[in-house]
Amino acid sequence: MATVPKVEVGTDYKEKYGFFVPEEYVFKAKRGLNPDIVKEISWMKQEPEWMTKMRLRSLEIFRKKPMPTWGADLSVIDFENIFYYLKASDKQSKTWEDLPPDIKATYDRLGVPEAERKFLAGVSAQYESEVVYHSLQEELTKKGVIFTDTDSALRDHPDLFKEYFGTVIPPADNKFSALNTAVWSGGSFIYVPKGVRVDIPLQAYFRINAENMGQFERTLIICDEGSFVHYIEGCTAPIYTTDSLHSAVVEIIVKKNARCRYTTIQNWSTNVFNLVTKRAMAYADATMEWVDGNLGSQITMKYPSVYLMEPGAKGDVLSVAFAGKGQHQDAGGKMIHVAPNTTSTITSKSISKGGGRTSYRGHIKIYPGANNCKSFVKCDALLLDDESRSDTYPYNDVDAENVTLGHEATVSKVSDEQLFYLMSRGIPRGEAETMIVNGFIEPFTKELPLEYAVELNRLIQLEMEGSVG
């Protein structure tokens, strides 16, 4: 028998999945996508049969759906040349030395602690946070809150999981949600019981599992009646990955009187295609808030949406995009008013620099019978030089009665007057521009927890100096 290279199965692997990989079996992460790979992923995770079937069905859908012809240019993605599943141990095979210098420099400049840097760079998992995570878990468990990774949730809470998984974003929703459903791995699962308020924001990187930064993460949040939770994913420091495609799906259910806030700060390295489907269902008098910041990636296409299902539901999207050289941020939001007396707002702020392109793309849909709805969209774009580009594509479909709909957008450069004012007070030009940009996105930063806001401001400063990316 030919010598088969042995796979280093991480010790945690056994604990996590509770089975032993027979010696003769070699799970090698293959490139490309076919039913066998999907079956293997499901088998490796020891998933129930319904999930395996769902994955296979999604793969079919993914294959049948055409590539979107609108938005950013996606023709360069080679689906056959992508690893669709990597074990955690494979992921950490990189070393600190392999990282591109600019990423390392950014960590230095941002003042990210050494251990955290390695985690962000995908070099190691963040074991340091284990303690914090455990004490948090105790408190949450007391309240009946479930906060875990999505794979564990499928294993430990199968009924709850099956009831909601894929109900907000079915596999056939779009090509990339089908892809995600076929090969998903990692992500967060949160269940907040009736009337429970989770006071501290739950952050993805509290969890020790390295997979939460995965390519095809799958997040499911269920806020039961009258509950509240704030979930934060990502961070301001650039996340280095060699994977070129990131296609996550986030599903949220906000029941009667509940409120959910989901904050994302995404700063993928600039080789990444970031194609994410995020959607929430808000029921009677519930509130869903997306706070969405997009800084990194080569191409981002992301339109967090809220389906306003019952009267009194409220949806809110606050989005910031920063596109530097070679980047295209195609972001925005969608508000689907299904029930009467629902309200929504979308606020978008975008900044383009050094030939970058930002596009706002939004959709307000008000179904027949969803009377007395109100919706307001405001987009502001700042162009920092004459190589950059900004587009606004708002789509509005109103089929109901007595609806008030407003849309406003402005595109401008840094105002000469503001610049003059600051410079006349002895502030150098570069610094003055940075201050103006920070002021421009202030409605966004003030919605962030303090440490994130500080980091974001620092990052904008770096981007403005042109020392990064």
Binding site: S352, P394, N396, V398, V403, A409, S412
Partner: protein, 398 residues
């Protein structure tokens, strides 16, 4: 439309120069070749033409299609029927006709280029100013016919004049296929006021392209009024091709009954130091529907451009529906662009205020509609047209 070539030759091609006949034939080929607009095409996603069969209206009207009214035209000004001008002033007409409206753009512009009937050509030489507005009136007399007038306006350097196109149906309940397209070429420093008032019958299909190209320091004040048709699709497009040019594009529409109006606008800033200002205001009654989609495009080197775009819809009935899609594509940073769109009912507070002063609900509503249109009516470039539009609107608000 018409199956054999012979009747066409007889009906409308007769007496026309070879180049025009050739253009018409090629446009007709495009019409037959081009696919029907599909629902997946963004421009037609909300605009349903699947029930339109232009060949159902293959008759042309025999009565004169248009008259022009102008007094004391200065020397050198040409005001002529388009087919005659194509023969007598080919050097002016040939390079321009359908160069802006783009005969092969879609089925309907192709049909317009192939079968335009009559139409008006206006040429105002360099430096000529005309005080009195020139009026072109286009008529339809019968149901079931096709009427496709086309206006071509050429403004010489530093010329200055106002022009009004009126599209008039003899009977308000006429059905048929109608158009009313206009191409305006503005020479350096020219100032043109253009008003189009569309009052075709309430059962017609109407397609129109109004497109202008502005040279250096030219100023266009365009005003579109859409009232007629069961289906009306209008494109209003200004191409700012010369530095210092300035386009003001305004429109009002009043839709009632089962009317459907579609407006697509383009403010194309091709060079720097240009300005465009667009305001489309509409009121909707009954079960009418309107679609507005506008685009501001600022090209790479068009620095110091200033563009404004707004669409305001007043929805007077619970069953009426207005869709508004204002878009921007900005490729230069040294610009100022603002756009806005609103769709909403009459403000209940305004209504309450008037009611509390003893004004009946119907009167109060009428006053609010008049007020809504008031600021844009003031922008109609000349008195004659303003009075006409005010009277038309008055009779419809009722």
């Amino acid at each position: 439309m018409v199956s054999t070539e012979a009747p066409l030759e007889d009906l409308i091609f007769r007496g026309e120069p070879d180049w025009l006949r050739e253009n018409r034939r090629s446009a007709l080929e495009s019409y037959q070749r081009l696919p029907a607009p599909s629902k997946t095409d963004e421009e037609w996603r909300r605009t349903d033409v699947s029930r339109l069969d232009p060949s159902a209206f293959s008759r042309f009207e025999k009565a004169p299609a248009h008259t022009t009214m102008a007094t004391n035209l200065p020397k050198g000004v040409i005001l002529e029927s388009l087919p005659v001008a194509a023969r007598d002033y080919a050097e002016l007409v040939q390079p321009r006709l359908f160069s802006l409206a783009q005969a092969h753009r879609d089925r309907f512009t192709a049909l317009q280029a192939a079968l335009f009937t009559g139409g008006i050509f206006l040429y105002v030489p360099d430096g000529v100013e005309i005080d009195e507005p020139i009026t072109g009136r286009h008529f339809s007399h019968e149901s079931g016919t096709t009427v496709q007038p086309h206006t071509l306006i050429v403004a010489g350097k530093n010329s200055k004049f106002n022009y009004l196109d009126e599209y008039i149906a003899e009977h308000d309940d006429e059905a048929g296929y109608r158009s009313g397209s206009t191409e305006i070429f503005l020479g350096e420093g020219s100032q043109v006021g253009y008003v189009a008032v569309q009052k075709w019958g309430r059962n017609v299909w109407h397609f129109s392209d109004q497109r202008a190209e502005l040279g250096k320091d030219a100023t266009l004040r365009l005003f579109n009024v859409t009232l007629g048709g069961k289906f009306s699709k209008t494109r209003v497009e200004a191409s700012l091709a010369g530095e210092g040019s300035n386009a003001e594009l305004k429109a009002i529409y009043f839709a009632s009954g089962e009317q459907f109006f579609d407006f697509h606008t383009l403010q194309e800033h091709r060079v720097g130091n240009t300005r465009s200002d667009l305001l489309f205001k509409g009121a909707l009654q009954d079960v009418s529907r309107t679609v507005y989609a506008g685009l501001i495009r600022i090209e790479k080197h068009a620095a110091r451009s200033d563009a404004y775009q707004a669409n305001r819809n007043l929805v007077l009935s619970d069953k009426a529906k207005a869709t508004s899609i204002p878009m921007l594509e900005i490729d230069n940073n040294d610009v100022r662009c603002t756009h806005g769109a609103t769709v909403g009912p009459v403000d209940p507070e305004h209504l309450f205020y008037l009611r509390s002063r003893g004004i009946t609900e119907a009167t109060a509503k009428r006053m609010l509609i008049q007020g809504f249109f008031g600021d844009v009516l003031d922008r109609i470039p000349f008195e004659h047209a303003r009075k006409l539009v005010e009277a038309e609107l008055e009779s419809r608000i009722g």
